[in-house]
Amino acid sequence: MISDAIKAKMLAVAERYPERRSAMLPALHIAQEAEGYVTPEGMQAVAEVVGCKVDEVESIVSFYSMYFAHPVGQRVVKVCTSLSCYLRGCDRVMATLEHDLGVQRGHTRADGAFTLLGVECLASCGTAPVLQLNDEFIEQVTPERAAELAREWQTQTAAPPSA
């Protein structure tokens, strides 16, 4: 739900810009943080804040890869698949996570615990392979480390996510 407080936060951001429309991306970030993904209600709130039609907000959500238009898992795992990570074995990291988490890349596990995604270069080539757990970096992830991480996350699934 987009509360009055969330909407006020969006409005405060909009007021920082010379033109309100510029608050589109930050307002959508706020909406997604509040609800886990960008809901129709979230898009409506953003449209009101930046002063445009809701269709236009929808076209923004579909363009930028960080916005989710559908519910995602409690933990969103993004594995970098670009060249530097590829050269250092990211495909084995991905295969390990697919196997150990029991979910194919590009999908959310049926219980809603994990969404596993392959993503483009995360600007961390010096510490390849890398992944992000709920947008926070985990670097130098060998397949062995990936297996450890998968175990850690799964034992924590009962507890609220840390990141």
Partner: protein, 432 residues
């Protein structure tokens, strides 16, 4: 290990340098104070003397770019820092933002003053959350200390800095797409002209500089343009943060004078090739720049020498591929990036990158035909120079250069249905 030449990254290893107190204790914001006591045109002149060229990839002289700003416009002038770092092989701006955020903020303030800008934006790639937190905190500290906002240091000068986070789109690192994104739209490139210097953000004259470029400005002001111009080569002045990744023992960022030989960077700084293997290929400036083979290991890493060798210094993202790397597999991986990141505005890029991936996949997985190599070149020719922005051109760099340098590997895939080297060579049909 050999010492780096720390200019942009000066003091980066000092604990707490990301806080205002420690940054100031090490001379931080003295360059801003010095700049504000000068005429803006004199600050611009100092940057011109330094010979600083853009660190985002194109290498355009920074002072000259500033001087192109339209004068007498009825609209305000804007400055945007391009920190949408997304080029595969590049990870220097993230380091600056996370560890030296005040150097960037100081650079933005000085550059805004030099260009007569009252509103500056820092466009940070959405995925770099920690970088955004660090820069956001530095901006807040600067405001609280009277170093940003209204009446900076009691001089009567006002400069606002707005931190803007992207949301996942490589294309927004292209300057006109960045402006569209900043205005709350899809990141589609604009037709040029008008150039940003004439009509950019909200139609006002706009200057867009890379994060590393702006972070260099405080050092130039502190030590003088002539001092900076004394580092590097005659045409490529100063230092460069080389981002080294791939098959090396110590991948990482190394700040060195322009013109440092590629072999020195790989062997003396990045610890040599993993497992003592030989270098097969190097991508010198990020995945958008053409590949070089091992015969080019002794070139000096400056704009001119890398161009003469057949590639580009670009964003200085040095990716090392060892002798066991399947070139077709690596090129396929790079091409998938451009297919996924093409914004879709121009047909040659949108459709062309899709078909390039289809052909490369077919070759990689053993279903390629002899005519596919010529077809790849033909599609590249139909993309290159035929779209609004350079993304499509960039997609063709690795394909064209690798076919030229490693045609035998492509042919082997066609005739044998598997890789010439690496894991894929041991399987009847490559499955990696």
């Amino acid at each position: 290990m050999a010492e780096q030449m720390r200019v942009v990254t000066k003091d980066i290893e000092i604990p707490g340098i990301d806080t205002l107190a420690v940054y100031q204790a090490h001379g931080g914001y003295a360059a801003l104070r010095k700049a504000l006591a000068m005429e803006p045109v004199a600050v611009m002149e100092e940057v011109k003397i330094s010979g600083l060229r853009g660190r985002g990839g194109a290498g355009f002289p920074t002072g000259m770019k500033w001087s192109f700003l339209a004068k007498g416009s009825s609209k305000p002038t804007y400055l945007a820092c391009n920190a949408d770092e997304s080029e595969p092989g590049t990870f220097k701006d993230r380091m600056i933002m996370e560890r030296l955020p005040h150097r960037l903020v100081e650079g933005v303030l000085i550059s805004a003053y030099a260009t007569g800008t009252k509103t500056a934006f820092i466009y940070i790639r959405g995925e770099l959350k920690q970088a955004a937190r660090q820069v956001g905190r530095a901006i807040q500290e600067a405001y609280d200390a009277g170093l940003a906002g209204k009446n900076i240091m009691g001089t009567g000068i006002d400069i606002d800095i707005i931190l803007h986070r992207g949301a996942g789109a490589y294309i927004c690192g292209e300057e006109t797409a960045l402006m569209e994104s900043l205005e709350g739209k899809r990141g589609y490139p604009r037709l040029k002209p008008p150039f940003p210097a004439a009509a950019g953000i909200y139609g006002g004259p706009t200057v867009i500089n890379n994060c590393e470029t702006l972070s260099t400005v405080p050092l130039i002001l502190a030590n003088g343009g002539a001092w900076y111009a004394g580092i590097g080569t005659e045409k490529s002045k100063g230092t460069r943060i080389f981002c080294v990744s791939g098959h090396v023992n110590k991948p990482g960022n190394y700040e060195l004078p322009m013109g440092t030989p590629l072999r020195t960077i790989i062997d003396d700084y990045a610890g040599g090739v993993l497992g003592g293997k030989r270098v097969k290929a190097i991508i010198p400036g990020g995945s958008s720049t053409p590949m070089l083979d091992a015969s080019k290991l002794d070139i000096p890493m400056d704009y001119e020498s890398v161009a003469a060798a057949g590639s580009m210094l670009g964003a200085a993202g040095v990716i090392v591929l060892d002798e066991d790397t399947c070139i077709v597999g690596a090129v396929l991986r790079m091409t998938e990036f451009y297919r996924d990141e093409s914004c879709g505005k121009c047909t040659p890029c949108r459709e062309g990158t899709y078909w390039l991936v289809e052909l490369l996949e077919r070759l990689e997985h053993g279903g390629g035909r002899g005519s596919d190599i010529a077809l790849l070149r033909d599609i590249c020719d139909n993309i290159s120079g035929k779209s609004f922005c350079p993304l499509g051109d960039a997609a063709t760099s690795s394909i064209i250069s690798s076919i030229k340098l490693f045609a035998d590997e492509y042919l082997y895939h066609v005739t044998q249905g598997r890789c010439l080297v690496g894991e894929g060579a041991r399987q009847a049909i490559a499955a990696h």
